[in-house]
């Protein structure tokens, strides 16, 4: 365990942070070291961190580092937990990245209901006397809050909605400056790499039918069953496990025993165990309806297609759809994919397609018979998990 080292008994003060991790690194070859380690963004898109750093460093004029702790994925809590428990490690990473790309200003955007994370970061900034350089800003709780251009638009006083790219944030971001946007966990890795420590671990949020839902640090590459065990074990037999959140995909019950999760497959780091008491079609329809309510409404295909898909899907699950609904869903999915300014619809229809395939028999049964008894079970995928940190063995 590296990222959450020393946090077993609570948040790390600057003194304890230094005792656990040692002083910040000062390596001149940080970007090369990040590249060599193969670090990829841990916010969900898994974009190579060094590529972004180089792009920002190459840009002329003043530069800014934006720590993206908006954590718009409702099932994820790991970034808030990291900011709460080890805020100095996140700041170390932001400062190291700022040094590497020659940025002066650092903005930390934190999901507004992440009170403990906000407190932890404010306290850490004050402890280090960084108030003039680091600004900690609460941002709305919304799926698109973590979308880079939407986040920057919000921070600039505009609506929380994506922009068409280019220009990318590394070209023109906060205050029209080149802005390096990185997720807190990614920056914690940067802080470790700066110290010469290459940790292969990842933070994940585990929820659903497990005894101890919460945030874990995993080694990467371990069996899925080991992760479920680390989360206290299953509360009931599982139908499937969702990996990656609302842009992710499912692991079928028959594959759970043999599945191994490498860090790249984790996307936003969310793992949800779907127990047999849940209704998968109902859960998926609920998520699609929720996502349809989270669209910015700027791009025609998504603004029209997402509500249309969600509405038809709920008809399928309620057993009130006309024949051909399945084909219609797939056609509309293809029609909204890749046609927006952001990737919300792309991820949403990928999640839908994966669910329609894995739970094909359940969907067919719903289309014929309407709601099932499990439809009345409490929703697994929509409630927000408790944001509480805990380390895996």
């Amino acid at each position: 365990m590296r990222l959450l080292a020393g946090t077993e008994s609570g948040p790390l003060s600057l003194e304890r942070h230094t005792a656990v991790h040692g002083p910040p690194g000062e390596r001149a070859d940080l970007i090369e070291a990040v590249e060599q380690f193969g670090l990829r963004g841990r916010g969900g898109a898994a974009f190579p961190t060094a590529v972004k750093m180089l792009a920002a460093a190459r840009h002329r004029g003043p530069r800014t580092v934006l720590v993206n702790a908006a954590e718009g994925e409702p099932l994820s809590a790991k970034d808030r937990v990291l900011c709460e428990l080890s805020p100095h490690l996140v700041l170390d990473g932001a400062l190291a990245a700022a040094r590497a790309i020659d940025a002066r200003q650092i903005v930390v955007a934190v999901r507004g209901d992440g009170v403990a994370a906000l407190d932890g970061l404010h306290r850490a900034v004050a402890e280090r006397g960084l108030g003039g350089r680091v600004r900690v800003v609460p941002v709305p709780v919304a799926y698109l809050a973590g979308q880079e251009s939407a986040l920057i638009n919000f921070l600039e006083g505009r609506q929380l909605k994506p922009s068409t790219v280019p220009p990318l944030p590394v070209e023109r971001g906060i205050g029209r400056r080149a802005t390096l946007v990185q997720n807190p966990e990614t920056l914690a890795h940067v802080a470790l790499i700066d110290r010469g420590v290459h940790s292969p671990t990842a933070l994940i949020t585990v929820g659903g039918a497990v005894r101890q839902a919460g945030v874990l640090e995993i080694a990467g590459g371990e069996p899925l069953t080991a992760i479920l065990d680390a989360a206290g074990g299953r509360t009931e037999p599982l139908q499937a496990v969702l990996v990656g959140g609302f842009h992710g995909g499912w692991i079928a019950d028959t594959e759970i025993a043999s599945a191994r999760l490498d860090v790249a497959a984790l996307r936003a780091g969310v793992i949800i165990a779907l127990g047999e008491s849940a209704c998968a079609p109902r859960e998926i329809a609920n998520v699609m309806a929720w996502l349809a309510g989270q669209v910015a409404g700027q791009c025609g295909p998504c603004a029209n297609g997402m509500p249309a898909i969600a509405s038809l899907l709920s008809q399928v699950v309620d057993g009130t759809s006309a024949p051909g609904a399945h084909a219609q869903l797939l056609r509309w999915s293809a029609d909204v994919s890749g046609r927006g300014a952001c990737h919300l619809p792309d991820g949403a229809v990928r999640f839908l397609a994966d669910g329609l395939e894995l739970f094909a028999a359940d969907f067919a049964q719903h289309a014929r018979n309407g709601p099932c008894r499990a439809c009345r079970s409490p929703s697994v995928l929509l409630p927000v998990p408790a944001a509480r940190g805990r380390a895996a063995a």
Binding site: P162, S163, T164, V165, P166, Q298, C299, G300, P301, C302, N304, G305, A308, W332, D335, G338, R339, G340, A341
Partner: protein
Amino acid sequence: MNPQLKIDPIACSGHGVCAELFPERIRLDDWGYPIIDDAPIPEALMAHAERAAEACPKLALKLGLTGRS
């Protein structure tokens, strides 16, 4: 390499004139928004592509060489 058609999805209001002018490469979805075949445009079709881009009332359709997403 020949230019490609690119659309700014935020600027596009689904006017649909592009699909009328360049049906060889542009069709409309169920909501009236253009679905563009973004393959390079051969010389023979270039005049149609240019006309479609110029006719867009929102200037959302562009003919360009770079295709970064």
